[in-house]
């Protein structure tokens, strides 16, 4: 069981890093598109019309992909008030519930996202002339990732029976980042 979980974790490490990198690339390309828009309008006196819909398209995709990564890395903010003060077994139970319900929501998002994709495939995004459904496809990808990451987190919780308090986890994450930064500046 443990080695199977280990394998799953390593696989999802790759998947989530890939999603994060695609997302980061999307953010960078968005910057480039809007920069080109200003350049075109102000310098070339010929405003490109594709830059706005392209950057919106990129924004939706990168938010949804990276938001799924957030389920795994647990960077989405919640009300940690009670979570932080209850005893460890209760916290584990709360987290189990949380990941299960988020996972179910991810599945619902993928399912109805697909409905949206089908329902809007015939319509086109103005100017870009690609199906409107291609934006909603991001919901499907993100939903599937959320399901996978939630399953992994649930299994980890079941095996380890330990959950860090939110403040503790955040402090840990911050300490790691600070360490990285101080190593770099050296």
């Amino acid at each position: 069981m443990k080695s199977l979980l280990h394998f799953l974790t390593r696989l999802l490490d790759v998947v989530s890093r890939l999603a994060l990198w695609i997302g980061a690339t999307g953010l960078f390309l968005m910057t480039a598109a809007v920069a080109w828009q200003v350049w075109g309008r102000f310098v070339l006196n010929d405003t490109p019309s594709w830059t706005e819909p392209v950057s919106l398209f990129l924004m939706l995709w990168f938010i949804l992909l990276v938001a799924a990564v957030g389920v795994r890395e647990r960077f989405h903010l919640g009300l940690d008030l009670f979570r932080d003060i209850v005893p460890e077994p209760v916290r584990v139970a709360m987290d189990l519930f949380s990941f299960v319900i988020v996972g179910v929501f991810g599945g619902t998002m993928a399912y109805y996202g697909m409905d949206l994709v089908r329902g809007t495939w015939a319509a086109t995004i103005p100017v870009l002339n690609i199906p409107e459904g291609t934006s909603y496809l991001a919901l499907v990808f993100s939903g599937v990732l959320i399901v996978l990451f939630s399953i992994e987190r649930v299994l980890v919780l079941l095996v380890e029976r330990r959950a860090q308090a939110g403040a503790e986890a955040l402090a840990q994450a911050h300490a790691d980042a600070a360490l990285k930064l101080s190593q770099q500046t050296k």
């Binding site: 006196n45 405003t47 015939a122 319509a123 100017v127 409107e132």
Partner: protein
């Protein structure tokens, strides 16, 4: 089941006192009277339920029952809806009324049905004109190089380019400050919107180009429509038709008020060299009216006297 009360949810992005909103409220009154309150409409105005594009989808999926939307927003769903928005297609408002109230209007509504929308009535959106902050525009020469804000649509972009301007897509919310700081030189809209957006404060040269008259359309979700009995469908259609006259009356009043107000505030009104403008957009027709069905419709519209 006959006596069951139904309140249709209808969406509009315009504010409560806008003629389209008022017209649908009026339609609701008619329905209530005809059915002893069994059928009525609740209008969610001011875009409470979302932007126009989102509410089109909501109507298609049957989340909301009715929607007032500009025909331009349906262009990417049913290409034939592009036709009434073609530049300089209608000679006058009367010409447009005659076409849209006739069989051509019905044909366009039919084209929406496969996409989950049942057309009920056409409302006015007035005539759209250019305005800018740089200079009076009377000739094509005057249009040269002006950065004119347009909606995200190939047709509008190509039309503006054909007229010699630099079409500049920009989100609606940024247009006012864009005009003020000079990011853009102008925009285009009908009298009431030129007034209500306060764009006249920062862009005072208004040219009577009348380049497009794409009407508004009131549609019903096919899913909601199919739930109605044949008699109720007939009642809804009739009430919608009756609201059209009311809408046009309110619209005319509104247009006159706005026109007066912006002129009083210092806007300058200029006539344009219409023949030259019409000639300049011919390449737009060549590019966008390629499908034989559209070509045929354009010819029939031009033939309507």
């Amino acid at each position: 089941a006959q006596a069951q009360q139904v309140t249709f949810r209808s969406s509009d992005t315009h504010p409560a006192d806008y003629p389209t909103v008022q017209a649908v409220e009026f339609m609701s009154e008619i329905l209530k009277k005809e059915t002893d309150g069994r059928l009525s409409i609740q209008v969610f105005h001011s875009g409470q339920l979302g932007e126009e594009r989102d509410t089109v989808q909501q109507t298609q999926f049957g989340v909301i029952d009715m929607l007032r939307v500009n025909l331009a927003l349906l262009n990417n769903i049913a290409p034939i809806t592009r036709v009434p928005g073609l530049p300089f297609l209608f000679r006058s408002e009367e010409h447009m009324y005659k076409v849209m109230d006739g069989e051509i209007g019905q044909e366009i509504m039919k084209a929406l049905e496969p996409h989950g929308l049942v057309g009920l009535a056409y409302y006015d959106s007035g005539t759209r004109n250019f305005y800018n902050s740089r200079r009076p525009v009377r000739t094509l020469e005057d249009m040269k190089g002006l950065k004119i804000r347009v909606q995200q649509s190939d047709l509008f972009i190509d039309t503006m380019r054909a007229l010699g301007a630099n079409p500049t897509p920009m989100p609606f919310g940024e247009v006012y400050s864009g005009l003020q700081t000079g990011v853009i030189d102008g925009a285009e809209n009908n009298w009431p919107s030129y007034h209500s957006t306060r764009h006249f404060e920062v862009s005072k040269y208004y040219s009577l180009s009348g380049h497009t008259m794409a009407p508004e359309i009131l549609v019903m979700s096919k899913r909601s429509w199919d739930k109605l009995s044949a008699e109720d469908q007939e009642l809804v259609r009739k009430a919608a038709q009756e609201s059209v006259a009311k809408m046009r009356e309110l619209w005319k009043e509104r247009e006159a008020q706005s026109r007066e107000a912006v002129i009083a505030a210092g806007a300058e009104i200029h006539e344009v060299d219409m023949d030259a403008f019409m000639k300049a957009v011919e390449p737009v027709y060549a590019k966008h009216v390629t499908d034989p069905q559209m070509q045929d419709m354009v010819e029939r519209i031009r033939a309507v006297q």
